[in-house]
Amino acid sequence: MSAFPWLTVLTALPVAGAIAVLGFGSRNKALARRLALGFSFLALALTILLWCRFDSTSGALQFQQQVAWIAALGVEYHVGIDGLGLLMLLLTSIVVPIGMLASWQIQERVGLYFSLMLLLQTCLFGTFTALNFFHWFVFWELSLIPAFFLIKLWGGPRSTAAATQFLIYTMVGSIALLLAFLAIFLATGKFDFIDLAQLAQSGHLMPTVIAKLAWHRFTPRHVALILFAGAFLGFAVKVPLIPFHTWLPSAYTEAPTGTTILLTGAMSKMGLYGFLRILLPIFGAQMQLVLTPLLWLAVATIVLSAYAALAQKDLKRIFAYSSINHLGYCLLAIFAVVKFTGGDADLTAEKYAAMNGVFLQIFNHALTAATLFWFVAILEKRTGGLRGLNDFGGLRKVVPVFTGLMGIALFSSLGLPGLNGFVGEFLIFKGSFPLVTWATSLSVLGLLVTAIFILGILQRVFSGPLNEKWAILPDLTTVERLSLAPAIALMFVVGLYPQLVLGFVNNTVIQIVQQLKF
């Protein structure tokens, strides 16, 4: 364990950047952009440094820092990461520079825009490293504020409504979550995730809660389920799970595309992080009780969102629904692993596979979705904001390099072997199939429909006779090619050598799965 407070420094770094950008860059737009990008690269470098110092052979928490804060309330400043935390930090650090590069064309209040982005990054780092509910929840809620303003102030024509819906919707979820945790705190006096997980694992958590909270009208089972429902709602809205997703299409579509990248790349992962860090260890038994409806919801999320994407005409809306679809696979696998929690050794391997698949899919979705929205931003910059499926046609003739690179990203999203998307989906299906056979078999339909709408994009935007309106559309510049190249290259690298990611998450996966015994 390192004595140097790496995680605190990492969390504070973007705030420092935000202040610097506001201070120095309020007049000079170019300076503000470069400064912000510089800070985001600094954060990336720091995260990679963490990765190098991270001990992949252990699934335990590392870089821990624990300081007493408000002792009377059980509040401590407790941070630390395992493979899951590191994965989240890495993808946040990758997604934020992409979001900034995709926001390069923003002209109004540039300093404020980029400092809000950095602020959002701090909130994400804070959420992914916190191990105490108190400051975890502060970061969790705080992240809504920069996101709200980013959508509202720089968004499309209906951005105010979208931002408000986004804020209130997620707030409702958060309040339910807060209430659940307050109830648990009242009973146990603990806010620490690790302590609570241990209590839950030893089977003492819910009896304590039920004994302390004298809700006589409810049976103990119902109390536990109500608390679970509260926490579940908070995360289900964030991921999102159908039918708690309606804020997402309009928020993703109305937000400036650079912000959409952050929303889908990093913020949607907050929900999954909550599922993995909080719901599975603490509420695993309750999840198992209502598994069947949860599985149906996951299947509905996968299939309905894919079909909804097929009906859209706006590229950003298509990718928004496609995001729901891709994260639906993660939820399917998360629900699948709580199906059998006995000591059956045969199924343990399947759970490892499913969980590793979830982790990999989280990373892949962040990379692929961020890159796809980036391409949309590049297109919007050239067309003055047009991004409808029917606005184009035959673009491959005038922008072959753009077509080729976006084609790679699209096929990565489709799950083509050799690119990153495939391995995660393969592992999820491999693990889930023996655990929840019918739900998994139905979910395969999502893979087919995804192929249909992705090929539809390729057909309608890039093929066919050239729409003469775009006869002089400029292809990617050298700078754009160079900045896109690492993202595209990473798709190939992860697709061919997934051990790069799985290597450091596998031991955490083993830890999470082994904790699931109730």
Binding site: Q165, L304, K430, Q499, L502
Partner: protein, 695 residues
């Protein structure tokens, strides 16, 4: 383990690397791209020959011919997921065939695509295809097989849509990808199931592989809830993938449309190699397809194999029937390919790996020959593809004609001298002795008659009579030099044709009943020349009857199309005149596409609209309702406040204040009013007292 087995991975990787380099290179380096692609595939071909020689020497020494190399890919939990490659007779034969045919077609393409602006892109995709296809062939893991299989599908997509500015090409590419992916989903599920049941996806892993005895025994013994053995369920799911890729009914609809791609692509991908990959898949997992309770016994028609046979037999006749009524030179060949793929599946079903694979190999040569010949014809006619407007090419394109005739006779199965005869005869012979039903045999024999007929028709249309090529026929021209006078193609195109023609003619001799070298090589046994095998009466009768059917087909073709030369491009088809309604049904492909368009495609679109509607109005509607309810509650609250709470309070206040106003009058501070009041009071008092006194 020898060098070639250890380094067999180079065979697929070299073309893939070439594709990567070409993709990054500048578009202008045409010769660089072509030579890189051809060079890398040539090295792959040489390595394949080494591998073939190695297997040959092993089998001649009587040693175990299957050798595998596995490697770790990634770790999950405590186990490693392993991939690997293998070298066995099946792999060796496929490797040589794919790289050799591929090489010839690459060379042909240099001439055919000479004028195309995306020349380098074309070779990039072709190289990627060749690499992925070779990967399919050497894979020792169902997962690696599936991965390469999907990349093969991608390159097929890219190459069908190569002339992307044509909307039909873009639509055909999408259709090909989606229809094959429907089959692939079955394949994917089958793979998941197999993995769950056996715990491995390696085919052979020194006893622990999923195609080896212990795994198969467990699969056969495991009975699912619907009463079907797990092995049958998995085999049928995997067959879905094979049916999609190999254009079996009812997933055949993409293959004719795939002819929108450049002709060398049709030859390589949609005739010789990729579409045969489905057949190869069944051959590869044959131990699973044929798994039954008594594992070691002779070939038993298992449920899976029965399904394969019936699908194959139906496809064989179905494709051949439709081929009769088409006018597009490539579409006729495409339906012929579907029909022949049906034969291969049927061969696998009734006769085993060797029977199906033998036809696969011979078909690869003669069908790629026919496609390249068609390409040469199209090239020579300035892009014309309609056989009604060709004619007379026998004289202007003699080399192409001779090569095409060889391919045509091989496809028809002309007795004794052409490869198709031997391979088709092996299938019919096996079908004749099939224990389940005799019907596939009759279907196959009928298909042979039809094949001879439609090929004769095509050849008479294209090469017979006089040229019917109109002046300036450039409506479908993709090459810039549309010319009215047909001309022979350059040597870079005709030399591959001649080589393929030689193979199409003589290759059958390696698998005759008298010297079944091919069959014994696949099974790892040795063979000797044994002329007496022809004396078997059952075999002889099958050979004779199939020969008679071929002659009948050729004769009918001559009767309808060769007797009188076709005079005009607009002249009605001879069979079409005889049976106009039937001909029209065949010309519309039995309305399968229309049927799918009216049902599945419409259902899919409708359902996506429903989902969108659900999203906009139901889910979002629920949320909006809640938010409106909150707003309504707020309004009610406000209303209550203003009109009840506030109003009551206000009313009270006003009453008090009015009372105050009234009372304030009393306290006006004016002396006169005080006096007036005192006066009034005095009077009242006086009256009161007076009134009381009078009582």
């Amino acid at each position: 383990m020898t060098w070639i087995v250890q380094n067999l991975w180079l065979v697929p990787v070299l073309p893939i690397l070439a594709a990567g380099v070409t993709a990054l290179a500048k578009q202008r380096n045409r010769m660089f791209a072509a030579s890189l692609a051809i060079g890398s595939l040539a090295i792959s071909f040489l390595l394949s020959l080494c591998a073939f020689a190695h297997v040959l020497s092993l089998s001649s020494q009587g040693l175990e011919t299957r050798q595998v190399v596995d490697f770790r890919w990634f770790q999950f939990g405590s186990e490693w997921l392993k991939l690997g490659w293998m070298l066995d007779p099946l792999t060796a034969i496929m490797l040589v065939m794919v790289s050799f045919v591929g090489l010839l077609i690459f060379i042909f393409s240099v001439g055919y695509m000479e004028h195309d602006e995306n020349f380098t892109r074309f070779f990039c995709f072709l190289s990627l295809f060749a690499g992925a296809m070779l990967g399919v062939v050497i894979a020792n893991s169902l997962l690696l097989f599936f991965m390469c299989w999907e990349i093969v599908g991608l390159t097929s997509y890219l190459l069908i849509g190569f002339w992307y500015h044509k909307p039909e090409a873009a639509a055909a590419a999408k259709k090909a990808f989606i229809v094959t992916r429907i089959g692939d989903l079955g394949f994917f599920l089958g793979m998941m199931w197999l993995y769950a049941q056996t715990g491995t996806l390696l085919f052979y892993d020194s006893g622990a592989g999923c195609l080896e005895h212990s795994a198969l025994a467990a699969l056969v013994a495991h009975v699912t809830t619907v009463g079907m053995a797990a092995s049958t369920g998995i085999a049928l799911l995997i067959f879905c993938g094979a049916a999609g890729k190999s254009g079996q009914v009812p997933l055949h609809v993409w293959l004719p449309d795939a002819m929108e791609g450049p002709t060398p692509v049709s030859a390589l991908i949609h005739a010789a190699t990729m579409v045969a990959a489905g057949v190869f898949l069944i051959a590869r997992v044959y131990p699973l397809m044929s798994a039954h309770a008594g594992l070691a016994g002779p070939l038993v028609p298992t449920t899976a194999l029965i399904v394969v046979t019936w699908v194959g037999a139906i496809t064989a006749v179905f494709g051949a029937l439709i081929a009769i009524a088409h006018y597009d030179i490539k579409r006729i060949l495409a339906y012929s390919t579907i029909s022949q793929l049906g034969y291969m599946m049927m061969g696998l079903g009734v006769g085993g790996v060797a029977v199906g694979m033998f036809h696969l190999i011979t078909h690869a040569f003669f069908k790629s020959l026919l496609f390249l010949g068609a390409g040469s014809v199209i090239h020579g006619c300035g892009g014309e593809q309609d056989i009604r407007r060709m004619g007379g090419l026998r004289k202007s394109m003699p080399i192409t004609f001779l090569a095409y005739a060889a391919g045509m006779l091989a496809l028809c199965g002309f007795p004794l001298f052409f490869s198709g005869f031997w391979s088709k005869d092996a299938i019919l012979d096996a079908a004749n002795t099939w224990s389940v039903s005799k019907l596939p045999f009759y279907l196959g024999a009928f298909g042979a008659l039809l094949t001879a007929f439609y090929m004769t028709r095509q050849v008479y249309y294209v090469f017979g009579g006089k040229s019917r090529l109109p002046e300036n026929s450039s409506e479908t021209a993709h090459t810039s030099h549309a010319s009215a006078t047909p001309h022979e193609s350059p040597a870079v195109m005709t030399v591959p044709l001649v080589i393929l023609a030689a193979f199409a003619t003589f290759l059958g001799l390696v698998g005759t009943p008298a010297w079944p070298w091919f069959q014994s090589f696949l099974s790892g046994t040795r063979t000797t020349l044994h002329i007496a095998a022809f004396a078997d009466p059952a075999l002889l009768s099958v050979m004779l009857s199939s020969s008679l059917l071929v002659f009948l087909g050729l004769g009918l073709g001559w009767w309808f199309y060769g007797r009188k030369p076709i005079e005009h491009a607009d002249a009605p088809d001879a069979v079409g005149q005889l049976q106009p309604r039937l001909f029209s049904i065949l010309g519309h492909n039995f309305y399968v596409d229309a049927f799918y368009g009216a049902t599945i495609v419409r259902l899919n679109t409708g359902w996506s609209r429903v989902c969108d509607w659900l999203d906009r109005w139901v889910w979002n509607g629920a949320v909006q309702t809640v938010s409106h309810l909150v707003l309504a509650f707020a309004w009610l609250d406000n209303f209550f406040d203003t009109n009840v709470v506030n109003a009551g309070f206000d009313e009270g206040c006003e009453t008090v204040s009015r009372g105050g106003q009234v009372l304030a009058l009393l306290q006006g501070g004016r002396v006169q009013s005080y006096l007036r009041m005192i006066g009034g009071a005095l009077i009242a008092l006086a009256i009161f007292l007076l009134w009381g006194a009078t009582r």
